[in-house]
Amino acid sequence: MIRGRVIGEVWATRKAPGLTGRRLLVIAVDGADRAMVAIDTLDAREGEDVMVSVGSGARNVLSPGPDNRALLCDAAISMIIDGES
């Protein structure tokens, strides 16, 4: 997983099947000047620190199980960070 902060949102009405109704957030990656787009299922808000699952495992955040292979998703928010020590 990758740690980052929500810095924006992408609005898209035309999406691949399976992504309909899902929010797309722009995530600034911690420790880099890069950003990524991730699917949100936890209702993350701008400014919140999140963990993003990337790669083929990200599909399991949207829909668990072996039947999710048609999902076009390689990044999904899997945690909203409250705090850490």
């Binding site: 990758i2 924006g8 691949a16 890069r34 990524m36 991730a38 076009l72 390689d74």
Partner: protein
């Protein structure tokens, strides 16, 4: 996923059988986490009907390869959404963004 703009389309008569009937788009990326190569353009298979000039979200890697019903496609990028609007926080603090492509995205600060 990454953000980019569709800048062209590729036609090919001779191609891998799994690519038959697929529309291939040339994408200029502008928000790309950890690009595997510092390329100016990438080619993505179109799953949503995007056209030249549109901003799109592109899914990379294994999910892109599997998404179109077969694991044998020789691709690693697929367009998964067409962007209507991008909102970026005006104050990003110590998190500056590098836009890797030549075209900056049209976005609204919020």
């Amino acid at each position: 996923m990454i953000l980019g703009r569709v800048v062209g389309e590729v036609w090919a008569t001779k191609k891998h059988a799994a690519l038959d009937g697929r529309k291939l788009l040339v994408i200029e990326p502008y928000l790309w986490y950890a690009p595997s190569h510092e390329v100016a353009h990438l080619v993505a298979v179109d799953a949503v009907g995007a056209g030249v000039g549109e901003d799109v979200v592109v899914c990379m890697g294994d999910p892109a390869r599997r998404s179109l019903g077969t694991t044998s496609m020789p691709i690693e990028a697929a367009v998964c959404a067409i962007v209507d609007k991008i909102e970026l926080a005006a104050d990003r603090g110590a998190r500056p963004l590098t836009f890797v492509g030549g075209t900056a995205p049209a976005h609204e600060a919020v």
